[in-house]
């Protein structure tokens, strides 16, 4: 993953704002990148979500890792924070445990061509106020949540 | 939060956040 980092690049995305792109082909099943950020507990995440909403940042850089812990990549993290959601993604997110440390890894579930945008399904919980989905996939569900 | 946020910290590993004593206090 570390070596692959330089073969990914963030740039303007057709889906939304910024996206992460492959600079070389990636085989199905290969790990692409780890989603890195600050490990915070639920209560702190709830508190930050309110602060981010107020300051217009939104809360889409918070990634749940288990019942009580969340990875927050809003103000500290790596390129993985730029990966956009897609309803028909070319990657999946998975939580693995390495030496008792839980990690979020994004891996390709189908071959990714050079220059293709990396995407995964955010699997946001269903909520009242909807976030429209811009992925443009034929099987698009219309909303992120 | 833009890609070029001024105070964004790039990390190579997850970091455990050290909560502050006044983490949840309402700041005037």
């Amino acid at each position: 993953m570390r070596s692959r980092k330089n073969r990914l690049r963030f740039a303007r995305s057709k889906i939304h704002d910024w996206g992460l792109f492959a600079l070389e082909p990636i085989d199905a099943g290969e790990i692409v990148i780890e989603y890195i950020g600050e490990m915070i507990r639920q209560k702190v995440a709830d508190h930050r979500e309110k602060i981010y909403e107020k300051s217009g940042i939104g809360s889409s850089y918070l990634f749940r890792i288990d019942d009580d812990n969340i990875i927050d990549a809003t103000k500290a993290g790596n390129l993985a924070r730029f990966i956009n959601h897609c309803c028909d993604p070319n990657c999946n997110a998975k939580i693995i445990t390495v030496d008792t440390q839980k990690k979020i890894v994004i891996y390709a579930n189908k071959p990714v061509a050079e220059g293709e945008e990396i995407t995964y399904d955010y699997k946001f919980p269903i909520e009242e106020d909807k976030i429209p989905c811009l992925c443009g996939a034929t099987a698009c569900r219309g909303f992120l949540n | 939060w833009s890609a070029f946020a001024p105070d964004f910290r790039e990390l190579d590993e997850n970091v455990e956040y050290e909560e502050m004593e006044d983490e949840f206090d309402m700041v005037e």
């Binding site: 507990r41 639920q42 209560k43 702190v44 | 004593e21 983490e23 949840f24 206090d25 309402m26």
Partner: protein
């Protein structure tokens, strides 16, 4: 006897409570432990002895049963607390100041909390109408 409660509905599971239920410790962020008994009328009083040899802080006070266990006492609308240092009164996460505070005239004493000090906490609940 009234002690701190071992029930996870009254003490955050991450907190370490001594076998006699009288000494409590937690780390990496505030959480709350409530007593085994609740009161709704009359004048009640308890004492807290500080061991400030531990690095860290404490907020002690009163909470209704719905106070959030994953946050400090005084964080939400259900609880009221004093912080050891700097001495501050809290309710709904806000610093409560001035004479309308629920314990006016207390703050200066709080700044002086030292190892071994005993803090007395009293509440006076008039008969419910």
């Amino acid at each position: 006897p009234v002690t701190l409660s071992f029930e996870v509905t009254h003490t955050a599971p991450q907190m370490k409570l001594s076998p006699d239920g009288l000494t409590i410790f937690t780390e990496k962020g505030y959480r709350m432990s409530k007593a085994t008994h609740g009161v709704y009328e009359g004048c009640w009083y308890y004492e807290v002895k500080f061991h400030s040899n531990e690095k860290g802080h404490a907020r002690v006070g009163w909470s209704q049963i719905s106070g959030d266990l994953q946050a400090p006492c005084g964080c939400d609308v259900f609880s009221y607390s004093f912080r050891d240092s700097p001495g501050t009164l809290f309710h709904q996460s806000a610093h409560v100041k001035g004479n309308d505070a629920f314990s006016a005239g207390y703050i200066d004493m709080l700044d002086a909390i030292e190892d071994g000090d005993v803090l007395g906490i009293m509440i006076n609940l008039p008969p419910p109408t």
